[in-house]
Amino acid sequence: MEVHKMKMPKATDFSQKWDNFKRLSHKFSRSRISLVGLFSVVVIVTLAIFAPLIAPYPEHAGAFVDYAHASIPPCREHLFGTDIMGRDVLSRTIFALRGALLMAVGVIGIVTPIGVIVGLVAGYNSGSLIDTILMRTSDVFLALPSLVLALAVAAVLRPTLFNAMLAVCVSWWPWYARLTYGLASSIRNETFVQAAQVIGASHFHIIFKEVLPNCLSSIFTKMALDVGWVILIGASLSFVGLGEQPPTPALGTMVADGARYLPELWWVCVFPALVIVWMILSFNLFGDGVRDALSPEEA
């Protein structure tokens, strides 16, 4: 019997992963506004990384004083104007992006592994004593308000960026634990997990190689959308004087310092505030795109 055998393209691991990436990118780009978010995020990250090269007056980001050029309104040489110490607001703003992003990366980078592991172990053992211990512990931490805790930490330890991050981490990780717990406790009843148990796979294998990959979409989405939140909290902390200490520029600090001089020297406060809004908006739009890309396919 002559049946035509179709020539199939060779599928390698890389070509499959590339196909997957293309498919996700296509889903991401279906929404134009997410692409705007992505572009914005890329701009922010580039500015932060290459700040010394891009900022017009990089030396203004450190201990610098020039009273001769203080309080100049926005003009061609100083697009955002200068503050009362004569420092270029634009340059300081660009450098301040670093602290904000570092905070976001640091917090989310620490919080995610801890929260996810707690959630996975609790969810896999859902209904047992381990579950109760882990999740009630996370409930306790969930009850702590980030800002108040940060103030307390600052009172005890020195107010630095690192300590501010620590304070936020302590109250943030339970959200990831909760998310992962919900996912893991339902995934553990899926047939492919039962299949792995019948085969004889170890608990470690099942938790990290079978359950976890199915949680990643939701976890990544949450991470992307959390960046905006962490930036906001970071700005709030530096607004009250915690976080990066002067002379290192921080967006919240700049807003706080400039607020005193409103409405005459409006540029010192308004521009950093707008940049905060822009950062959060960009990351939120980007996060929406990530969520759309990773959301399950419709049948």
């Binding site: 691991d13 047939t191 492919f192 019948v198 796979a201 294998h205 199915n214 990643l216």
Partner: protein, 329 residues
């Protein structure tokens, strides 16, 4: 011929608890209630039943997804009454399962290579060097192209996914494979391909199958012996041809009458016409006496009081019904 699997008095009850506050145990779902059978080496035993019959639960207890509430499961003479995580590794190597829905029994985040590696690595079937060639060998047995290795389950069709599930079951060279409705979710042309492949593999590797389905016509062409289950109990057990030529239990007759057939020859096999009536009762409140008494056209008073015992009416043909109680062979 030796018995590879013996099940004696197997029970699996699921407790129903009341609300969160009192957590009192209200009742049980008696999913499997005193089931006994044996499977000979190289044989295909079919378990037939509708919803609530307990056929899938029986399968899940045998492979260790659930632990039995009571009763014994003997595999090659060895007692394996515990859940899979507590069983010794060499026992898990010998027993495999193929589930009904390949869409959920294969991890959607893995590619086929990763899926097939799991049993190979857990039981150290081959060394790392030969992993890929062993996977290619498995794909070959189920007639899937080698370049499927890096594809994910969602990229291939339902029938092909089920072939992957079968390849996974074969990976550790098991002696017993439990197949829980392996083709119920598939089109009839795809089913044909898979069933034929399963039968070929069974002959070639001399495997024993516990084959579960609700499709009697399929069972007729697959099983060596057939057991029919209803509300957690076996009602009749007989060799395949005998089962259809001489169905004794009223439920068996009702089920055979209900099967839609495609030829006049088959119509004549459905000779004992019992028109199906009534609903399948819930497994929570099983009526006292024989569980089939709500729908049986031959019920008598005894059927509401006493649950019948299993009786060997002819050599190898067992039935559990008051109509045949005096007919031991």
């Amino acid at each position: 011929m030796s018995e590879i699997l013996t099940v004696k008095g197997l029970k699996k009850y699921f407790p129903i608890v009341s609300s969160t506050f009192s957590r009192r145990q209200l009742n049980y779902i008696k999913a499997v209630d005193n089931v006994s059978f044996f499977l000979n080496e190289g044989e295909i035993l079919g378990l037939v039943g509708e919803s609530g019959s307990g056929k899938s639960t029986t399968a899940y207890v045998i492979v260790g997804i659930y632990s039995p509430t009571a009763g014994d499961i003997l595999f090659k003479g060895r007692n394996i009454n515990v859940v899979a995580t507590k069983r010794p590794l060499e026992v898990k190597k010998e027993i495999a399962i193929v589930f009904q829905d390949p869409g959920t029994s294969l991890n959607p985040q893995h590619n086929i290579r990763e899926i097939l590696s799991v049993p190979l690595k857990v039981h150290k079937v081959v060394s790392k060097k030969y992993l890929n060639s062993k996977i290619e060998e498995l794909l070959d047995i189920v007639e899937l192209p080698k370049n499927y290795m890096y594809k994910q389950p969602r990229a291939i069709g339902g029938g092909e996914r089920q072939m992957v599930a079968i390849a996974r079951a074969l990976a550790t060279n098991p002696s017993l494979i439990v197949l829980d409705e392996p083709t119920s979710a598939l089109d009839v042309s795809v089913q044909a391909k898979i069933i034929n492949k399963l039968l070929d593999i069974q002959k070639e590797f001399r495997l024993s199958y516990l084959f579960i389905t609700h499709d009697l016509s399929l069972m007729r062409n697959v099983a060596t012996r057939i057991a029919i289950m209803y509300l957690g109990k076996i009602n009749e057990l007989a060799p395949a041809a005998e089962f259809f030529q001489n169905p004794l239990h009223p439920y068996t007759q009702m089920l055979i009458s209900s099967v839609p057939v495609v030829s006049k020859a088959e119509e004549s096999i459905k000779k004992k016409k019992i028109i199906s009536a009534g609903e399948i009762p819930s497994s929570v409140n099983i009526p006292p006496g024989c569980g089939f008494n709500t729908r049986c056209p031959f019920k008598k008073d005894l059927c509401f009081e006493v649950d019948p015992e299993m009786v060997e009416v002819m050599p190898g043909h067992y039935v559990r019904c008051h109509l045949y109680q005096g007919m031991r062979c």
